[in-house]
């Protein structure tokens, strides 16, 4: 059974496509806090879906100089269309091939469904997980936990 990585663990490095011809590595972001939001899929039919919601909260994350990234097993073109439709101003990473490999490293892959859990990680500027949380798949975990974790990081 997948076990979500706990605070204190070094966040596993990864490299994933962010657009059709660009890749992004976690290690590139060393030196600033990172918020990783794993989520099951693009295109859930509600206006307050989790990614759109974080889009509204972005200025609050930026106050902490934190970089937000969404990760699902959707491919880059799906992400591109979704990001455009929701006017997202943060990157969506495609944990597409090998499917769910990064989610597995973080202990947040749902083997039976082939999608990521709805899981959040706040990683400090040194690359260590400061906070993690796995939400029930149908519940949008919101941003209060993330903001609290960011506030708790050493300056």
């Amino acid at each position: 059974m997948a076990q979500i990585l706990a605070p204190g663990t070094k966040a596993p490095d990864f490299t994933l496509p962010v657009t059709a011809d660009q890749k992004l590595s976690l290690s590139e972001l060393r030196g600033q806090p990172v918020v990783l939001a794993f989520y099951p899929a693009d295109w859930s039919p509600v206006c307050g879906d989790q990614m759109a919601f974080y889009n509204e909260i972005l200025p609050e994350f930026q106050k902490h100089k934190a970089e937000l990234m969404g990760i699902s097993v959707d491919g880059v073109w799906c992400h591109a269309a979704f990001a455009e439709a929701r006017h997202l101003h943060f990157p969506l990473l495609a944990d597409f091939e090998p499917k769910g490999a990064v989610a597995k490293k973080y202990g947040v892959y749902r083997e039976n469904d082939g999608i990521c859990e709805r899981a959040l990680f706040v990683i400090d500027k040194n690359g260590t997980i400061a906070w993690s949380y796995c939400s029930p798949i149908a519940v949008n975990p919101g941003a209060d936990g993330i903001l609290q974790a960011l506030e708790g990081l050493p300056k």
Partner: protein, 174 residues
């Protein structure tokens, strides 16, 4: 279970009996269709509970998703300072499809308010800070989309159909 972090107070828009044992708080976006759907439901809930319940509306505009949500929220606050908050709130929800800045100005006039003063207020973002304060308070309280309801300070999780809200409120009132 998420808790309301900002207690209901003097700067809130409250409808109903001040002594009511039950407080229903909604964080809403005026342009959100789900909030539009919730509008008549809340009215039914208010009717059902009568004096036992007071209703509070707080702004939670999803500005990236809804281009008119911010001005609508500010228009509500403008109307509030002229004692017409609920009239403005109701009028917007009853005419969601028409929502635009021009429509808000027209609404203001219909309510006996000064449309030009509202236009000026929107331009100067007079009420942007209040709206933002509502929004951030909501974020802190675990609001993750709209509408989000709190019943006696506890976030209501699950559907907001009439039956679900009534059941949740009855449970809180016990």
């Amino acid at each position: 279970m998420s808790e309301l972090k900002i207690p209901v107070g003097a700067s809130d828009h409250i409808q109903g009996d001040a002594q009511a044992a039950i407080t229903l708080v909604e964080y809403g976006d005026y342009e959100c269709p789900h909030c539009g759907a919730a509008y008549p439901i809340v009215k039914r809930v208010q009717k059902h509970f009568g004096k036992r319940l007071r209703f509070v509306f707080r702004n939670f505009p999803l500005v990236q998703a809804h281009p008119n949500a911010q001005s609508a929220a500010e228009a509500g606050e403008f109307a509030a300072t002229h004692g017409k908050f609920w009239e403005m709130h109701d009028a917007i929800y009853e005419n969601q499809r028409e929502l635009s800045t021009d429509f808000l100005l027209q609404l203001a006039e219909n309510l006996g308010l000064d449309g030009r003063a509202l236009a000026k207020s929107l331009k100067s973002e007079e009420y942007a800070e209040k709206v933002r304060a509502d929004f951030l308070g909501g974020v802190r309280s675990g609001v993750n989309g709209t509408p989000t309801f709190f019943i006696n300070n506890h976030r209501h999780d699950g559907p907001f159909d009439y039956g679900d809200l009534v059941e949740s409120i009855e449970r809180a009132a016990r």
